[in-house]
């Protein structure tokens, strides 16, 4: 019985963990993974994020906990999946962010939430300046009791 556990479970699990080596490296799962996290080429990555606008039209970055959880990548994935899900999914996410912003004293000045789809040159961001190569507001909604949600066609190009 002890040898069965040693080989059946011990070696069996090791073999299972090694199995993704035969998959395409982008085929990721959990807990078995190809660990592709830092391996993908990212020439002009797209980033989806939420931002707040105050009455003067100034844009404010929103912390991840306002979008989803305090995990920054999970917040980004949440915005990306909502954008991919279409206007209804974007509307629901935007409204939930607006609700949380309305309850946060720190974000009392915000009157609107925007979901943004932007493309960056990562190295140029730090060497030349933080402007995205392309920026598009895909959805907006108001903060507060009379919150209304509206999808945006958005203008492609520089901000």
């Amino acid at each position: 019985m002890a040898r069965f556990a040693a080989y059946g479970i011990g070696m069996g699990l090791v073999a299972l963990v090694a199995l993704p080596a035969f998959d395409h490296p982008t085929e990721d799962s959990y807990p078995l993974s190809t660990y592709p996290m830092f391996a993908r080429p990212r020439p002009r990555p797209r980033l989806f994020f939420a931002e707040g606008l105050d009455a003067e039209g100034t844009r404010h970055r929103l912390p991840p906990r306002l979008v989803a959880t305090e995990e920054v990548m999970q917040a980004a994935a949440t915005v990306r999946r909502a954008v991919q899900g279409g206007p209804a999914a974007m509307g629901r996410l935007c409204a939930s962010i607006a609700d949380r912003a309305a309850q946060s004293a720190e974000h009392a000045s915000l009157i609107e939430i925007a979901l943004v789809d932007a493309r960056f040159d990562p190295v140029a961001y730090f060497t030349r300046g933080p402007e995205p190569v392309e920026r598009r507001v895909v959805h907006q909604c108001a903060v507060g009791a009379d919150a209304k949600s509206r999808p945006r066609r958005g203008r492609r190009g520089a901000p």
């Binding site: 002890a2 040898r3 556990a5 040693a6 080989y7 011990g10 070696m11 699990l13 090791v14 963990v17 090694a18 993704p20 080596a21 490296p25 990721d28 799962s29 959990y30 807990p31 078995l32 993974s33 190809t34 660990y35 996290m37 830092f38 391996a39 993908r40 080429p41 990212r42 020439p43 990555p45 980033l47 994020f49 970055r61 929103l62 912390p63 991840p64 989803a68 959880t69 305090e70 995990e71 920054v72 990548m73 999970q74 917040a75 980004a76 949440t78 990306r80 999946r81 909502a82 899900g85 209804a88 629901r92 996410l93 939930s96 932007a118 960056f120 190295v123 961001y125 730090f126 933080p130």
Partner: protein, 320 residues
């Protein structure tokens, strides 16, 4: 003796090498203890998954088989609480044969559920896999509440050796897979350092744009292309060279320190912490883990629980 028989015997000598019962017990306490603290610290992060819109649900791993829609908030809270609660008997070694597989299974489900919302938490894979191995190993035959009810095991045996070997092999395989992914996906771009430079730049820029804290060091060094070529090669040496750790001794120590240094580098340049390797618990199985019991602190904390009349590694060996 045929070549095949010689190979089988050599594998068996390595995999089923006699070890004292304290070895898997120390691993149980260390890995289980890490998981317990991790769950307690991240409790809110797990329960806040209830905030997500159901359309965001993208099940992975066992969750893809078990669930077609998200858990209700009370069920998610119950799952998180049950996982946290089951970590306690796992660490204490209480009714281990029942509670250990239960805890490892719940941990697998909870962490799979967390990764089922569009982002895989690669920080949790290794601890989850280690828990699964330990759950089916005789890791509570010493230093446990179960062990107090049984006669003391004083002989080293192969049944206490395989779990540590399996943990080490899994650790090594995960690093090799990460190295292979870099070679297969990045290719020449990875070797030149260009890909790592872009990766570090992108990671820091997205943290800035997403309103989180980033690494000022990583942002400041983005222009140093030569540095990223060096770091890329070092990363590949650590990841693809991981199998040397299975040789044990100084090679294992050298590799574990290199891998630990690699994770420190990731923290410094990308502000991404892999808590399990950074706690060093991930590498404990590469060594004779029971030797930590010789450290003074354990004698002071609980002499009754940890005192052993003779050094565990000097025990007589029992065979099947």
């Amino acid at each position: 003796m045929s070549v095949v028989a010689k190979i089988v015997r050599a594998v068996d000598r390595y995999w089923y090498a006699p070890a004292p019962s304290e070895r898997p017990a120390v691993l149980r306490i260390a890995v289980g203890g890490f998981a317990l603290v991790y769950l307690a610290v991240r409790f809110g992060s797990f329960t806040r998954l209830a905030r997500f819109d159901a359309t965001q649900f993208a099940p992975v791993g066992p969750i893809a088989v078990l669930l077609s829609e998200p858990l209700s908030p009370p069920l998610l809270l119950a799952l998180t609480l049950a996982t946290l609660a089951c970590a306690v008997p796992f660490v204490l070694g209480l009714y281990y044969r029942l509670t250990a597989p239960l805890f490892a299974g719940l941990f697998l489900l909870l962490t799979s559920y967390r990764s089922s919302w569009g982002m895989t938490f690669h920080t949790e894979n290794l601890v989850c896999l280690h828990l699964l191995v330990l759950a089916f190993a005789p890791a509570a035959d010493a230093l446990s509440l179960d062990a107090r009810r049984r006669p003391r095991v004083l002989e080293a045996h192969g049944r206490y050796g395989w779990a540590g070997r399996a943990l080490s092999a899994i650790t090594v395989v995960t690093y090799v897979l990460a190295g292979l992914a870099k070679v297969r996906l990045g290719g020449a771009g990875w070797m030149s350092g260009e890909l790592l430079q872009a990766q570090i730049a992108y990671d820091n820029l997205r943290k800035i744009e997403l309103g989180s804290f980033h690494s000022p060091l990583g942002a400041a060094l983005v222009t140093e292309t030569w540095l990223f070529a060096v770091l890329s090669w070092l990363t590949l040496v650590v990841e693809l060279g991981a199998p040397v750790a299975l040789a044990g001794g100084k090679l294992a120590l050298g590799w574990a320190l290199s891998a630990f240094g690699f994770h420190l580098g990731v923290v410094a340049l990308m502000a991404i912490a892999f808590p399990y390797p950074l706690s060093f618990v991930a590498y404990l199985s590469l060594f004779r883990a029971e030797r930590v019991l010789g450290a003074r602190i354990f004698g002071r904390v609980s002499p009754r629980a940890f005192f052993s009349p003779e050094a565990p590694h000097a025990r007589p060996v029992a065979r099947d």
